[in-house]
Amino acid sequence: MAARILVVDDELDMLALLAMIISEKTEHKVTTTNNPLEVIQFVLEGGYDLIITDLKMPTMDGIELIGKIRNIDQYIPILVITAYGSIESAEEAINKGAYDYITKPFRKEQILIAIDRALEWKSMKKELKELKEKNQ
């Protein structure tokens, strides 16, 4: 199923590369931005199934961004990309509500698998929620 994915990274190459892989290998639609400040707007507009974000960005810390996204959307999975050697901040991100993290540099397949899993998780959450509502 085609999903909509929002990719946030201050480095343009990363955006280009991620957009390229996802569009080459999957049916998903990708929106990219190198400005974390825009992310909030995107999330408010809605319609995204997954957010992939860098942790270190010049205008807004990734951790802060996760908090802001969670204030708007409780459920959207956030996949965090961290630089090698900064596992602590990745763990902090998970504590703040990120779904998973992946460490740079990584293989193409790794990110594709991570995306699949995150989307599966999202649909499971949704089904669970619907089931609960039905049972109530």
Partner: protein, 849 residues
Amino acid sequence: MRRLLKIFRREIAPQKPVLDNGQVFKERYLYFKQLLNENNAVLEIMADMEDKLAGEYIFDMNYVRSSCNKLVDSVQNIIVNLDKLSKGKYPNLYFAFAKINSKIEAVLINKTDIPVTDFTIPFESATKEMVNSVGGKNANLGEIKNKVGLPVPDGFCISAYAFKKFIEYNELKDKIVLKSVDIVDIEGLNQISREAQNLIMKSQIPSDVETSMLNAFSELSRKISRGVSSPTVSVRSSAIYEDAEFTFAGQYKTVLNVNTDNLIEQYKKVIASLFTPRAIFYYKSKGFDEEDMVMAVGVVEMIDSKASGVMYSHDPTDAEKNNIIINAVWGLGKYAVDGTVSPNIYVVSRDESKTILEKTTPVQKVMLKCNSEEGTVEVDVPEEKRATSCLTDDQIKFLADYALALEKHYDRPQDIEWALDENNNFLILQTRSLRILKEKPVKNIQTITKNHKILIDKGQIACKGVGAGKVFIINKEEDLEKFPEGAVLVAKHTSPQFVTVMNKTSAIVIDVGSLTGHMATLAREYKIPTLLNTEVAMKTLKADTEVTVDAFNGNIYEGRIDELVEAGKRENHFKDTTVFKVLRELLKNIVPLNLIYPEDEKFSPDYCETFHDITRFSHEAAMREMFKIVDNPDINKREAVKLEVKIPLEIYVIDLGGGIKSDSKKITPDHILSIPMNALLKGMMAIEWPGPPPINVKGFLSVIADTTMQPRSEKLLWKPSFAIISREYMNFNIMLGYHIQTIEAYAGDNINDNYARFLFKGGGASLDRRTRRTRLIKEILEMMDFSVKRTGDVLDARITKYNKSTILKKLDILARMTAYTKQLDMTLFNDAMVDWYVKEFVDKYYKEN
């Protein structure tokens, strides 16, 4: 015999110890070890960076920078350690390093100087190399016109240099202050952006720039007027940084249908669009200064096209289909791109026939045209045209040929904007790589290879890919001279010298080698599919037979499988991104190897062009220094301990650390911890040290039947032998009566460090006998996979980059050979004897291993 030896020993009295070099040795060994570690670090980082370039990984500039930093540190450490080890013998290495390092820094910083050019440059003189002067879009139009030879609109570029002059003339650098901008503050960004744009609009174009622009414009008008009174142009941004082009697509301004009176005003509008809030954010967050914000502009003949559109030289949704896709609308192309109207769609086959496979012609009611004064205007499509195809079949085929020509020139599928003018001439407005192309589905490997036998299914992949060709086996260095074009190189072990044939090698298969060694690094640089540690290739692969090497899955197939080779050539679109380009550019200063032959006079610091050169040179030089460590006239026994061993040698041992487990002055082989020394001693003790020639052997008697023994006239050398050892290292200088031989070895856990070296020299016998003896040893060593250099009676043999256990096996054989050849020169009175002895040794000692 034993008695004789005792006598000789007494004849030459042991010298009294003079000096203590133990500490010196230890220090130097430490430098050597550190150098080895750094050498490995460099090789690993290089391998990792090359691996990233293969396109399977996602990485960022941070990775590139930190890898470079690590590399720089390690290379520096190598130089420092060699400096200490050699006592400052190679000061020029520092210069070589500085030269290479500054090139690397330049690539990393990626500052583009604005070349001094004319203020305006006609398209006739632009090419894609001029991107720093005219910007990406202009450079590309010039390339299409001048290199591909396809028609583009006439026009000229207003150069980056003109922009720079404009900024300088108005002192805008001081007025537009971006330094204090807080890029988190969006309102602040907007404010600065508005101010900067206002400043530009209010500024004056320097008169010489203005004159140049107006002259170029009237020159252009003359060319394009074709009877029209006042021709118009479009004024387009043409960014300098590719990055910028990518991020700001559609944000920089393009003004259509501009006439001579407002050219200057519109130029200012376009360059003002450089200072959008987003652009400022980008430049600031990347650490660029405002002076890096530069824009060139294109002034292009306005084509009030009859029809226009976009075409793809390949179907972007299905490459398998092999089709060209063309879309077309009536009027200007903007409506085709922005989706205002549904375009005509033509699908054309890419083959010779250019068959039109599909044609969709929706009704088009409105179109965009140039306004008679200025700007554009939407008008109705004439009734009779609304439902008809914009292009005739002949025109469609004609245009399809353009698509293929552009694809051929740029060597990848293209996304092309085109226009048809009122006189039915096609023009190319823009072309760029067609980025998102679904990869061809790769056929199941099993299906492709099912009719081919797998010859070898083991080995490690050093460079991914598939290559096919005839097997060419390299036994010794000279074989490389006969290496045929397109062959598959098969060898027992790796050698950096293989680089000399890498331009004509289709694949490399090596039975033993290191993934991070010099050769593997070079194979990756040349992108040659390479398998290492296949173990059995030398035995299994037959010279001159065709094979296909699949270095994706680690298989070698019988015969040539072209389909598999094709499947291996999958395009990698990643390679267009800046981070790849930067990495590729950097590796040019890191990986290529220019210092190939250690005996070459150019094997020196002065000829080091890359970090790889420095690393290889330093490693060689360090090994040379270590080898010579005992070549010291002052060597003595005070620091040494005597080794009591049941072989006819007087051995003294100097421990560099971890080589001996006793403090006593006398030790036995049980006290030796040194891994290579133990292996050697084991071999030496296992063999019976030779007595007189084996006269009871039938074959031997027949050989000597017609010769007479020559009397022994040469003087025996008899001195103590020194072994300098550590846990992994041994440098054993053996005094063997008539000659000196040195066995040096490093046997550790990293295959890149490991080597064994055997140097054989001198002897008292006549030259012909000495020569015979070295021939004998050379033949035996070559059978043991050593690479051997013989100059007269001096023999230098080496084996490198084998795992520890193999090195130890080789030492065992070296030990046996040492004993065996000890006095051979006494008996080698004719050449036939040599052959006999080689055979005897191999039968007796080598085959059992």
